[in-house]
Subunit: 198 residues, 2 copies
Protein backbone atom coordinates (compact mmCIF):
# COMPACT_ATOMS: atom_id res chain seq x y z
CA UNK A 1 0.00 0.00 0.00
CA UNK A 2 1.33 3.40 -1.00
CA UNK A 3 1.78 5.99 1.71
CA UNK A 4 0.78 8.97 -0.36
CA UNK A 5 4.32 10.15 0.25
CA UNK A 6 6.96 11.95 -1.81
CA UNK A 7 7.16 9.17 -4.39
CA UNK A 8 3.46 9.47 -5.19
CA UNK A 9 2.07 12.01 -7.62
CA UNK A 10 -1.40 13.06 -6.51
CA UNK A 11 -3.42 15.74 -8.29
CA UNK A 12 -7.00 16.65 -7.43
CA UNK A 13 -9.11 18.40 -10.05
CA UNK A 14 -11.34 20.35 -7.76
CA UNK A 15 -13.72 23.24 -7.18
CA UNK A 16 -14.08 24.80 -3.75
CA UNK A 17 -17.89 24.87 -3.88
CA UNK A 18 -18.36 21.20 -4.84
CA UNK A 19 -19.87 18.92 -2.20
CA UNK A 20 -18.35 15.98 -4.00
CA UNK A 21 -14.84 17.39 -4.17
CA UNK A 22 -15.08 18.11 -0.46
CA UNK A 23 -15.50 14.38 0.17
CA UNK A 24 -12.16 13.73 -1.50
CA UNK A 25 -10.42 16.51 0.42
CA UNK A 26 -11.90 15.23 3.71
CA UNK A 27 -10.85 11.64 2.93
CA UNK A 28 -7.29 12.75 2.14
CA UNK A 29 -7.20 14.83 5.34
CA UNK A 30 -8.50 11.89 7.41
CA UNK A 31 -5.68 9.78 5.99
CA UNK A 32 -3.18 12.51 6.85
CA UNK A 33 -2.31 13.02 3.19
CA UNK A 34 -1.46 16.67 2.53
CA UNK A 35 1.14 16.54 -0.22
CA UNK A 36 -1.17 16.65 -3.20
CA UNK A 37 -1.69 19.29 -5.83
CA UNK A 38 -5.11 20.87 -5.97
CA UNK A 39 -6.06 22.27 -9.37
CA UNK A 40 -9.09 24.54 -9.16
CA UNK A 41 -11.35 24.04 -12.17
CA UNK A 42 -13.52 26.75 -13.63
CA UNK A 43 -16.90 25.04 -13.57
CA UNK A 44 -19.05 28.16 -13.82
CA UNK A 45 -18.12 29.54 -17.23
CA UNK A 46 -19.32 27.68 -20.30
CA UNK A 47 -16.40 26.10 -22.10
CA UNK A 48 -14.13 26.91 -19.20
CA UNK A 49 -13.21 23.31 -18.45
CA UNK A 50 -9.50 22.67 -18.64
CA UNK A 51 -7.95 20.36 -21.26
CA UNK A 52 -6.69 18.26 -18.33
CA UNK A 53 -10.24 17.73 -16.98
CA UNK A 54 -11.56 16.84 -20.45
CA UNK A 55 -8.69 14.37 -20.90
CA UNK A 56 -8.91 12.84 -17.42
CA UNK A 57 -12.70 12.50 -17.23
CA UNK A 58 -13.83 12.33 -20.87
CA UNK A 59 -17.05 10.52 -19.96
CA UNK A 60 -18.59 12.96 -17.48
CA UNK A 61 -16.20 15.96 -17.86
CA UNK A 62 -16.84 16.69 -14.19
CA UNK A 63 -14.88 17.24 -11.02
CA UNK A 64 -13.72 15.74 -8.77
CA UNK A 65 -11.02 13.70 -10.47
CA UNK A 66 -8.09 12.29 -8.53
CA UNK A 67 -5.02 11.59 -10.63
CA UNK A 68 -2.69 9.12 -8.94
CA UNK A 69 0.60 8.58 -10.76
CA UNK A 70 -1.02 9.75 -14.03
CA UNK A 71 -4.06 7.47 -13.65
CA UNK A 72 -7.43 9.23 -13.22
CA UNK A 73 -10.29 8.14 -10.95
CA UNK A 74 -13.71 9.82 -11.10
CA UNK A 75 -16.91 9.81 -9.00
CA UNK A 76 -16.42 10.97 -5.43
CA UNK A 77 -17.35 7.79 -3.53
CA UNK A 78 -15.28 5.66 -5.91
CA UNK A 79 -12.33 8.01 -5.38
CA UNK A 80 -12.75 7.82 -1.60
CA UNK A 81 -12.86 4.03 -1.72
CA UNK A 82 -9.75 4.02 -3.94
CA UNK A 83 -7.93 6.31 -1.49
CA UNK A 84 -8.94 4.00 1.35
CA UNK A 85 -7.67 0.91 -0.47
CA UNK A 86 -4.46 2.32 -1.94
CA UNK A 87 -3.13 5.23 0.11
CA UNK A 88 -2.23 4.45 3.69
CA UNK A 89 -1.38 8.02 4.64
CA UNK A 90 0.19 9.18 7.89
CA UNK A 91 -2.79 8.21 10.02
CA UNK A 92 -2.92 4.63 8.76
CA UNK A 93 -6.64 4.59 9.57
CA UNK A 94 -9.25 2.99 7.33
CA UNK A 95 -12.54 4.62 6.33
CA UNK A 96 -14.36 1.40 5.48
CA UNK A 97 -14.46 -1.45 8.03
CA UNK A 98 -12.42 -4.58 7.41
CA UNK A 99 -15.48 -6.78 8.02
CA UNK A 100 -17.16 -7.31 4.62
CA UNK A 101 -20.70 -7.15 5.98
CA UNK A 102 -20.08 -3.85 7.74
CA UNK A 103 -18.32 -2.66 4.56
CA UNK A 104 -21.46 -3.45 2.54
CA UNK A 105 -23.54 -1.46 5.04
CA UNK A 106 -21.15 1.50 4.73
CA UNK A 107 -21.54 1.41 0.96
CA UNK A 108 -25.32 1.15 1.37
CA UNK A 109 -25.58 4.31 3.49
CA UNK A 110 -23.14 6.30 1.33
CA UNK A 111 -25.25 5.34 -1.70
CA UNK A 112 -28.32 6.40 0.30
CA UNK A 113 -26.79 9.87 0.78
CA UNK A 114 -26.25 10.17 -2.98
CA UNK A 115 -29.74 9.02 -3.95
CA UNK A 116 -31.95 10.18 -1.07
CA UNK A 117 -30.23 13.18 0.54
CA UNK A 118 -28.59 14.93 -2.41
CA UNK A 119 -31.56 15.18 -4.83
CA UNK A 120 -34.00 16.83 -2.35
CA UNK A 121 -31.26 19.04 -0.85
CA UNK A 122 -30.88 20.66 -4.24
CA UNK A 123 -34.56 21.63 -4.44
CA UNK A 124 -34.68 23.13 -0.94
CA UNK A 125 -32.70 26.18 -1.96
CA UNK A 126 -33.41 26.25 -5.68
CA UNK A 127 -37.21 26.07 -5.65
CA UNK A 128 -40.24 27.50 -3.89
CA UNK A 129 -43.81 26.43 -3.16
CA UNK A 130 -44.94 22.84 -3.47
CA UNK A 131 -41.67 21.57 -4.96
CA UNK A 132 -39.73 23.05 -2.06
CA UNK A 133 -42.14 21.63 0.52
CA UNK A 134 -41.83 18.16 -1.06
CA UNK A 135 -38.03 18.52 -1.07
CA UNK A 136 -37.98 19.50 2.62
CA UNK A 137 -40.20 16.52 3.54
CA UNK A 138 -38.03 14.08 1.55
CA UNK A 139 -34.82 15.56 2.94
CA UNK A 140 -36.05 15.26 6.54
CA UNK A 141 -37.28 11.70 5.96
CA UNK A 142 -33.83 10.74 4.65
CA UNK A 143 -32.01 12.47 7.51
CA UNK A 144 -34.26 10.64 9.99
CA UNK A 145 -33.30 7.31 8.44
CA UNK A 146 -29.65 8.33 8.80
CA UNK A 147 -30.27 9.41 12.39
CA UNK A 148 -31.69 5.95 13.14
CA UNK A 149 -28.58 4.42 11.58
CA UNK A 150 -26.30 6.73 13.58
CA UNK A 151 -28.07 5.84 16.85
CA UNK A 152 -25.85 6.49 19.85
CA UNK A 153 -22.59 6.14 17.95
CA UNK A 154 -20.11 9.04 17.75
CA UNK A 155 -19.73 8.54 14.01
CA UNK A 156 -21.41 6.42 11.37
CA UNK A 157 -18.09 4.58 11.34
CA UNK A 158 -18.48 3.85 15.07
CA UNK A 159 -15.63 5.21 17.18
CA UNK A 160 -13.87 6.58 14.10
CA UNK A 161 -14.86 8.90 11.30
CA UNK A 162 -15.57 6.60 8.37
CA UNK A 163 -16.89 6.24 4.82
CA UNK A 164 -20.50 7.32 5.53
CA UNK A 165 -19.24 10.27 7.56
CA UNK A 166 -17.14 11.36 4.58
CA UNK A 167 -20.15 10.97 2.28
CA UNK A 168 -22.49 13.05 4.46
CA UNK A 169 -20.32 15.76 6.04
CA UNK A 170 -20.33 18.14 3.01
CA UNK A 171 -24.12 18.34 3.28
CA UNK A 172 -23.85 19.37 6.93
CA UNK A 173 -21.91 22.44 5.77
CA UNK A 174 -25.03 23.44 3.83
CA UNK A 175 -27.54 22.87 6.65
CA UNK A 176 -27.66 26.59 7.47
CA UNK A 177 -28.42 27.44 3.82
CA UNK A 178 -31.17 24.79 3.68
CA UNK A 179 -32.69 26.12 6.93
CA UNK A 180 -32.68 29.74 5.80
CA UNK A 181 -33.98 29.03 2.28
CA UNK A 182 -36.54 26.49 3.48
CA UNK A 183 -37.49 28.31 6.71
CA UNK A 184 -37.23 25.23 8.92
CA UNK A 185 -35.03 23.82 11.66
CA UNK A 186 -33.12 20.63 10.98
CA UNK A 187 -32.03 20.40 14.63
CA UNK A 188 -35.67 20.34 15.78
CA UNK A 189 -36.30 17.09 13.90
CA UNK A 190 -32.81 15.53 13.66
CA UNK A 191 -30.88 16.61 16.76
CA UNK A 192 -28.46 13.68 16.63
CA UNK A 193 -27.40 14.44 13.06
CA UNK A 194 -26.77 18.07 13.99
CA UNK A 195 -24.80 17.00 17.07
CA UNK A 196 -22.80 14.62 14.87
CA UNK A 197 -22.03 17.45 12.43
CA UNK A 198 -20.88 19.76 15.21
CA UNK B 1 -13.86 -16.70 2.72
CA UNK B 2 -17.10 -18.68 2.79
CA UNK B 3 -17.77 -21.13 0.00
CA UNK B 4 -21.48 -20.54 -0.24
CA UNK B 5 -21.75 -24.17 0.74
CA UNK B 6 -24.05 -26.20 2.97
CA UNK B 7 -23.06 -24.32 6.11
CA UNK B 8 -24.17 -21.01 4.62
CA UNK B 9 -27.77 -19.81 4.65
CA UNK B 10 -28.47 -17.74 1.56
CA UNK B 11 -31.88 -16.31 0.72
CA UNK B 12 -32.60 -14.00 -2.19
CA UNK B 13 -35.71 -11.83 -2.09
CA UNK B 14 -36.37 -11.62 -5.77
CA UNK B 15 -38.74 -10.91 -8.63
CA UNK B 16 -38.24 -12.55 -12.02
CA UNK B 17 -38.80 -9.34 -14.00
CA UNK B 18 -36.31 -7.22 -12.05
CA UNK B 19 -33.14 -6.17 -13.89
CA UNK B 20 -31.47 -5.63 -10.55
CA UNK B 21 -32.37 -9.02 -9.12
CA UNK B 22 -31.00 -10.58 -12.29
CA UNK B 23 -27.58 -9.09 -11.49
CA UNK B 24 -27.57 -10.99 -8.19
CA UNK B 25 -28.67 -14.24 -9.82
CA UNK B 26 -26.00 -13.85 -12.54
CA UNK B 27 -23.29 -13.11 -9.95
CA UNK B 28 -24.25 -16.18 -7.90
CA UNK B 29 -24.27 -18.30 -11.08
CA UNK B 30 -20.85 -16.98 -12.12
CA UNK B 31 -19.53 -17.98 -8.71
CA UNK B 32 -21.07 -21.43 -9.11
CA UNK B 33 -23.36 -20.86 -6.12
CA UNK B 34 -26.67 -22.64 -6.65
CA UNK B 35 -27.74 -23.67 -3.16
CA UNK B 36 -29.68 -20.59 -2.22
CA UNK B 37 -33.35 -20.06 -1.61
CA UNK B 38 -35.14 -17.73 -3.97
CA UNK B 39 -38.23 -16.08 -2.51
CA UNK B 40 -40.36 -14.47 -5.19
CA UNK B 41 -41.80 -11.17 -3.98
CA UNK B 42 -45.09 -9.75 -5.16
CA UNK B 43 -43.98 -6.31 -6.32
CA UNK B 44 -46.95 -5.54 -8.53
CA UNK B 45 -49.84 -5.43 -6.06
CA UNK B 46 -50.05 -2.52 -3.66
CA UNK B 47 -49.41 -3.69 -0.13
CA UNK B 48 -48.28 -7.06 -1.42
CA UNK B 49 -44.77 -6.81 -0.01
CA UNK B 50 -43.91 -9.60 2.37
CA UNK B 51 -43.20 -9.01 6.07
CA UNK B 52 -39.73 -10.47 5.41
CA UNK B 53 -38.97 -7.85 2.72
CA UNK B 54 -40.22 -5.01 4.95
CA UNK B 55 -38.07 -6.32 7.80
CA UNK B 56 -34.96 -6.98 5.74
CA UNK B 57 -35.00 -3.76 3.69
CA UNK B 58 -36.93 -1.29 5.87
CA UNK B 59 -35.28 1.71 4.20
CA UNK B 60 -36.18 1.11 0.55
CA UNK B 61 -38.62 -1.84 0.90
CA UNK B 62 -37.34 -3.06 -2.47
CA UNK B 63 -35.90 -6.18 -3.96
CA UNK B 64 -33.31 -7.51 -4.43
CA UNK B 65 -32.20 -8.33 -0.91
CA UNK B 66 -29.65 -11.04 -0.22
CA UNK B 67 -29.85 -12.50 3.28
CA UNK B 68 -26.62 -14.21 4.26
CA UNK B 69 -26.76 -16.04 7.58
CA UNK B 70 -29.67 -13.80 8.67
CA UNK B 71 -27.89 -10.57 7.68
CA UNK B 72 -29.53 -8.57 4.86
CA UNK B 73 -27.72 -6.70 2.07
CA UNK B 74 -29.58 -4.39 -0.31
CA UNK B 75 -28.79 -2.55 -3.57
CA UNK B 76 -27.82 -4.84 -6.43
CA UNK B 77 -24.25 -3.64 -7.06
CA UNK B 78 -23.50 -3.62 -3.33
CA UNK B 79 -24.86 -7.17 -3.10
CA UNK B 80 -22.72 -8.28 -6.06
CA UNK B 81 -19.62 -6.76 -4.50
CA UNK B 82 -20.44 -8.45 -1.18
CA UNK B 83 -20.86 -11.81 -2.95
CA UNK B 84 -17.52 -11.24 -4.67
CA UNK B 85 -15.76 -10.43 -1.41
CA UNK B 86 -17.36 -13.05 0.83
CA UNK B 87 -18.54 -16.07 -1.14
CA UNK B 88 -15.89 -17.99 -3.00
CA UNK B 89 -18.29 -20.40 -4.71
CA UNK B 90 -17.35 -23.44 -6.73
CA UNK B 91 -15.75 -21.44 -9.53
CA UNK B 92 -13.42 -19.52 -7.21
CA UNK B 93 -13.38 -16.71 -9.79
CA UNK B 94 -13.52 -13.02 -8.88
CA UNK B 95 -15.78 -10.48 -10.53
CA UNK B 96 -13.75 -7.42 -9.58
CA UNK B 97 -10.02 -7.29 -10.39
CA UNK B 98 -7.49 -7.61 -7.60
CA UNK B 99 -5.68 -4.48 -8.81
CA UNK B 100 -7.22 -1.51 -6.95
CA UNK B 101 -7.03 0.87 -9.92
CA UNK B 102 -8.79 -1.58 -12.23
CA UNK B 103 -11.28 -2.22 -9.41
CA UNK B 104 -12.06 1.51 -9.26
CA UNK B 105 -12.62 1.50 -13.02
CA UNK B 106 -15.01 -1.45 -12.73
CA UNK B 107 -16.97 0.42 -10.09
CA UNK B 108 -16.97 3.53 -12.31
CA UNK B 109 -18.50 1.71 -15.29
CA UNK B 110 -21.04 -0.18 -13.20
CA UNK B 111 -22.11 3.13 -11.67
CA UNK B 112 -22.27 4.52 -15.22
CA UNK B 113 -24.74 1.77 -16.16
CA UNK B 114 -26.95 2.72 -13.20
CA UNK B 115 -26.89 6.46 -13.87
CA UNK B 116 -26.58 6.72 -17.67
CA UNK B 117 -28.05 3.52 -19.15
CA UNK B 118 -30.89 2.70 -16.77
CA UNK B 119 -32.74 6.08 -16.69
CA UNK B 120 -33.06 6.50 -20.49
CA UNK B 121 -33.81 2.79 -21.02
CA UNK B 122 -36.93 3.25 -18.95
CA UNK B 123 -38.26 6.05 -21.16
CA UNK B 124 -37.67 4.19 -24.43
CA UNK B 125 -40.56 1.81 -23.83
CA UNK B 126 -42.68 3.89 -21.46
CA UNK B 127 -42.93 7.13 -23.48
CA UNK B 128 -43.52 8.42 -26.99
CA UNK B 129 -42.63 11.49 -29.02
CA UNK B 130 -39.90 13.90 -27.96
CA UNK B 131 -39.29 12.26 -24.58
CA UNK B 132 -38.76 8.91 -26.28
CA UNK B 133 -36.44 10.41 -28.92
CA UNK B 134 -34.35 12.05 -26.19
CA UNK B 135 -34.23 8.74 -24.28
CA UNK B 136 -33.09 6.86 -27.39
CA UNK B 137 -30.34 9.42 -28.06
CA UNK B 138 -29.13 9.32 -24.43
CA UNK B 139 -29.27 5.52 -24.36
CA UNK B 140 -27.23 5.21 -27.56
CA UNK B 141 -24.70 7.79 -26.36
CA UNK B 142 -24.21 5.78 -23.16
CA UNK B 143 -23.91 2.46 -25.00
CA UNK B 144 -21.31 4.01 -27.31
CA UNK B 145 -19.24 5.07 -24.31
CA UNK B 146 -19.50 1.49 -23.03
CA UNK B 147 -18.56 0.18 -26.47
CA UNK B 148 -15.41 2.32 -26.40
CA UNK B 149 -14.61 0.92 -22.96
CA UNK B 150 -15.21 -2.66 -24.16
CA UNK B 151 -12.94 -2.17 -27.18
CA UNK B 152 -11.63 -5.49 -28.49
CA UNK B 153 -11.99 -7.32 -25.18
CA UNK B 154 -14.25 -10.38 -24.87
CA UNK B 155 -15.80 -8.99 -21.68
CA UNK B 156 -15.61 -5.75 -19.76
CA UNK B 157 -13.69 -7.81 -17.24
CA UNK B 158 -11.14 -8.74 -19.94
CA UNK B 159 -10.86 -12.50 -20.52
CA UNK B 160 -13.44 -13.21 -17.82
CA UNK B 161 -17.00 -12.12 -17.21
CA UNK B 162 -16.70 -9.47 -14.50
CA UNK B 163 -18.43 -6.83 -12.41
CA UNK B 164 -19.37 -4.48 -15.29
CA UNK B 165 -20.63 -7.44 -17.33
CA UNK B 166 -22.89 -8.40 -14.42
CA UNK B 167 -24.13 -4.81 -14.17
CA UNK B 168 -24.97 -4.49 -17.88
CA UNK B 169 -26.16 -7.94 -18.97
CA UNK B 170 -29.77 -7.60 -17.69
CA UNK B 171 -30.22 -4.60 -20.01
CA UNK B 172 -29.10 -6.68 -22.98
CA UNK B 173 -32.09 -8.97 -22.32
CA UNK B 174 -34.31 -5.95 -22.94
CA UNK B 175 -32.60 -4.76 -26.16
CA UNK B 176 -35.30 -6.37 -28.32
CA UNK B 177 -38.05 -4.57 -26.36
CA UNK B 178 -36.21 -1.24 -26.66
CA UNK B 179 -35.75 -1.76 -30.41
CA UNK B 180 -39.41 -2.64 -31.04
CA UNK B 181 -40.83 0.11 -28.82
CA UNK B 182 -38.33 2.71 -30.06
CA UNK B 183 -38.24 1.54 -33.69
CA UNK B 184 -34.45 1.57 -33.97
CA UNK B 185 -31.56 -0.85 -34.27
CA UNK B 186 -29.03 -1.01 -31.45
CA UNK B 187 -26.77 -3.30 -33.48
CA UNK B 188 -26.51 -0.71 -36.27
CA UNK B 189 -24.86 1.77 -33.90
CA UNK B 190 -23.29 -0.46 -31.24
CA UNK B 191 -22.33 -3.75 -32.95
CA UNK B 192 -19.68 -4.64 -30.36
CA UNK B 193 -22.09 -4.36 -27.44
CA UNK B 194 -24.57 -6.61 -29.26
CA UNK B 195 -21.81 -9.12 -30.07
CA UNK B 196 -20.78 -9.01 -26.41
CA UNK B 197 -24.37 -9.72 -25.33
CA UNK B 198 -24.67 -12.66 -27.70
Amino acid sequence: MAKGGKDEELILLDHWVSLFSMRVRVALAEKGITNYECKEENITILGGKSPMLLEMNPVHKQIPVLIHNSKPISESLIIVEYIDEVLMGKSGSKLLPSDPYRRSQGRFWAHFVDTKVYPPSWNIWRTKGETQEKAKADFIESLKALEDELGEKCYFGGENFGFVDVALIPFYCWFYTYEVCGNFSIEAVCPKIVAWGK
